[in-house]
Symmetry: C2
Subunit: 123 residues, 2 copies
DNA sequence: CCCTACCGTTTCGGATGCGCAACGAACCAT
DNA sequence: ATGGTTCGTTGCGCATCCGAAACGGTAGGG
């Protein structure tokens, strides 16, 4: 995946702008990173583990889970083998939402020119 | 740029997670989209124009500019030919910040495998 | 049994964001 | 001049975020 910094910035811009138009809940960068992490890395996921993996404090994780849970993007479940732990589980709605975002981004990436030869066109 | 939805999600995750660790100001998705838009699309940029381009209300643009301006990521300048307008200008610091983000993302994208053949490894 | 360690949550004060509506300043046509 | 239009900003009330510290519940060693 040879992508120049310039290309990625442009891709990022288009995806963000396109995503703004959709009316799903407005997630923080942190919340979105958390959502991606839960769905793209192998379980089990605990608050402590997520806190370490994302370099975020535990309260931040707890609150992000509150919010993601309200939208049914993730679910909490007590670990029955160690009742101190909380296991974060995926949901159908969360999968669908991420899937849509991925498809949107892929559609935007597809028609983009591989190497933008001239960065600064002559004025 | 043939990127699968799966690949982009993974790329997005890694970049977001890596970006969380850096200590720059925590920008909203909207604020970051605005920042990217100002730097990647040709000027001039006005509040009204940005509002239309990003599908955000004018107050949202104004407040985002307040915040971006506080970090010196952008600057406001009255349009002298039509003093109702405000022109949004780029800054050195903003360029550097975006450049760093782009480089970070490019470094993360580089070692990623082009086609992850098996999406769900057998358990 | 305790006592300690660990886990996730909650509380507190303060900062920031939003939508909606109203606002002052600048422009423009008549 | 003057009335209407367009520009960006601000005020209001409410929701949400944050960091730091304290909290209750669970686990595990001695």
């Amino acid at each position: 995946m040879a992508l120049s910094a310039q290309q990625i910035l442009e891709l990022w811009r288009r995806v963000l702008v396109a995503d703004l138009r959709r009316d799903h809940p407005d997630l923080t960068a942190r919340q979105f990173a958390l959502l991606l992490h839960v769905y793209l890395t192998p379980p089990p996921h605990t608050v402590r583990g997520l806190s370490a993996a994302l370099s975020l404090s535990k309260p931040v994780i707890t609150r992000a889970l509150d919010r993601l849970g309200r939208f049914d993007y993730v679910r909490r479940k007590r670990d029955q083998t160690d009742k101190r732990n909380v296991l974060i589980q995926r949901t159908i709605k969360g999968s669908v939402t991420l899937r849509e975002f991925g498809d949107l981004a892929a559609e935007i990436a597809a028609p983009m020119q591989p190497p933008p030869v001239a960065l600064t066109p002559p004025r």
